[in-house]
Amino acid sequence: MRFRAKIVDGACLNHFTRISNMIAKLAKTCTLRISPDKLNFILCDKLANGGVSMWCELEQENFFNEYQMEGVSAENNEIYLELTSENLSRALKTAQNARALKIKLTNKHFPCLTVSVELLSMSSSSRIVTHDIPIKVIPRKLWKDLQEPVVPDPDVSIYLPVLKTMKSVVEKMKNISNHLVIEANLDGELNLKIETELVCVTTHFKDLGNPPLASESTHQDRNMEHMAEVHIDIRKLLQFLAGQQVNPTKALCSLEYWSLNQ
């Protein structure tokens, strides 16, 4: 198994760091999947416990100047590693003014992901910072649990409002109730609702826009204003919103009974 990659572009490095910070906020441990074209951050918390499950995909050529990998075997040309997400984000934090960042798989006493940064400094010589992040290699038999989740056809899909606004609304609601109801329809309307014995608070968002429907036929007879609703644990939603470091072009919320995806 081999992996070596290098980032020299400042903007790419910045973006990669922010993604790593986002992952670190969502989960303590995560899986990194390295394949010839993509890099994935995977978090798999059992949904039955109300956990958050996450799948993040990066096209390697958008980030890395150099990228070489050799998987477990020729037929299974992938590498699955488990690491503490905070270790990676902290290592990347020191790389902010770097000339170059190199990541590679090494074995120093135990398997590590070595992040090596060449920093710009005021003098002629550069500073070299190295972090060896301990990792665990995930055996092939567990790979099936870490595959891309199948997103079923949703009842309603809607573009979310500015996440910052949504986050501040949800944060205030957290103080009142643990339980949040999200309602959305195909008319670009989204409601965030909490209900307790004493009070019921609803925040309405309008004109959000909906993505084109996947399968026209099923939904043609649907009433556009009909609201689909889901009940979720507010803390999990907040955890997701708090972790958002990367400003998405569009954030999509799909509601289907029993599932909520971005």
Binding site: A91, C112, S121, S125, S126, R127, H131, D132
Partner: protein, 428 residues
């Protein structure tokens, strides 16, 4: 006339003073106020005696500085100068110097003075419009400890801008207890301590290499790798933010303490940290330790020190059994001042002595916060006579040699007690 202190500072001076208190608070929970003709020294030592901090404010730092010591005339014409023995709890003094930026802006004057009759230190802040804030802090009578470290004999000397240290510190997490400094004549590397990262397979190992041209001064006599406690490094960085002066680092071989200094003419700060001794480079017996105190009565001390040394040395060598603090605090108050001190050295002893050290160190584990220092035994400072060079060349001629005979020890002790300056050593 009692021993006393009185000084006055402006707002910006208070900020520097407050930063010094904050920096020292990272080392210890207690602080000595020690005025002398050289200025006002703030001193502290940590509970496991492996870190010592001292910030000396020269008289010209203050708007007004006045101090006095009590001089006791005695029959045999040897006067005792009893200085102010003032020890304050950090918990009492630290909250007073909070919000330093706002203090700097808002106060017109700060007055600090002592009232020995009531064992109190009074700190007064004078604001605009006649507003005055007064704090009365009771102090404990306790001889200040002084560690004397001769920077000039250190093989390796570096001078860095605080910015460099700050950049290095972010590499390590707060859970990191020890860091290792490795230098060669060409470069400098700060890295996670190997000992630690091997135990915890979950810990990230980090290192930073810096070229020698980033230093204001870079003189390395020999390739060295030393390991010391990380927390105290942050303390000196806090203080350096107040002075904008570069930080000088003096060190030698593993085991010998490391000194971090900041000197900007008005204020001189010294932080002396114990370093981990190499397994292989241990001397056969502990070098003498000297945390000195400031009384100058030679006979009295000689006798007491001699007695202490004998007792301690024997304990040192022979005991293998029950854990007990090797260096009870009480002995310190009896120890006299040291004017010149040679090369400080810290040993994690081996052989017979090591068992004792291990035991004594294990006791210090009870002290909260010293867990990380369980591998560091107490700091040893060579108390050398004027033949400094001689001592340095013969590091194994330990003044505190293991000896079965009391006589031997006394002989050794007496040899050093000559000259007008009191030169003592003791095992603490």
């Amino acid at each position: 006339m009692a021993a006393m202190l009185k000084c006055v500072m402006s707002g910006s001076q208070v900020k520097v003073f407050g930063k010094a208190v904050q920096a020292l608070s990272r080392i210890s929970d207690e602080l000595w106020l020690d005025p002398s003709k050289k200025g006002l020294a703030l001193r502290c030592v940590n509970s496991s005696r492996s870190a010592y901090g001292c910030v000396l404010f020269s008289p010209v730092f203050f708007q007004h500085y006045q101090w006095s010591a009590l001089v006791k005339m005695s029959e045999n014409e040897l006067d005792t100068t009893l200085n102010l023995k003032c020890k304050l709890g950090m918990k009492s003094i630290l909250p007073i110097f909070r919000c330093l930026n706002s203090l700097e802006r808002n106060i017109e004057k700060c007055k600090i003075f002592t009232r020995s009759d009531k064992c109190k230190v009074v700190i007064q802040f004078f604001y605009r419009h006649g507003i005055k804030r007064t704090h009365n802090i009771c102090f404990q009578e306790s001889q200040p400890l002084q560690v004397i470290f001769d920077k000039n004999v250190c093989t390796n000397t570096l001078m860095i801008q605080p910015r460099l240290l700050a950049d290095a510190i972010v590499l390590f997490t707060s859970s990191q207890e020890e860091v290792t400094l490795a230098v060669t004549p060409l470069n400098f590397c700060l890295k996670s301590s190997n000992e630690e990262s091997m135990d915890l397979s979950n810990a990230v190992y980090s290192e930073m290499f810096v070229g020698s041209d980033e230093f204001d001064f870079f003189q390395i006599g020999m390739d060295t790798e030393i390991t010391f406690c990380f927390k105290e490094l942050k303390g000196i960085l806090t203080f350096s933010e107040a002075t904008h002066a570069p930080i000088s680092i003096y060190f030698d071989f593993p085991g010998k303490p490391l000194a971090l200094s900041i000197d900007d003419m008005l204020v001189e700060a010294n932080f002396i940290l114990a370093t981990l001794a190499d397994e292989s480079s241990r001397a056969s017996s502990p070098q003498s330790l000297c945390l000195s105190q400031k009384r100058k009565r030679s006979d009295l001390i000689k006798k007491k020190a001699g007695k202490n040394i004998t007792g301690q040395a024997l304990e040192c060598i022979s005991r293998k059994a029950a854990p007990r603090r090797l260096y009870p605090k009480e002995t310190l108050t009896n120890i006299s001042a040291l004017e010149n001190c040679g090369s400080p050295a810290m040993k994690r002893a081996n052989g017979d002595v090591s068992e004792v050290s291990e035991n004594s160190v294990s006791n210090t584990e009870e002290v909260p916060g010293s867990l990380c220092l369980r591998k560091f035994s107490c700091m040893f400072f060579g108390a050398v006579s004027s033949d400094q060079q001689e001592h340095f060349n013969h590091p194994f001629d330990s003044l505190a040699r293991a000896s079965d005979s009391e006589e031997d020890m006394n002989n050794v002790c007496r040899k050093e007690f000559n000259g007008s300056d009191a030169k003592y050593f003791c095992i603490i």
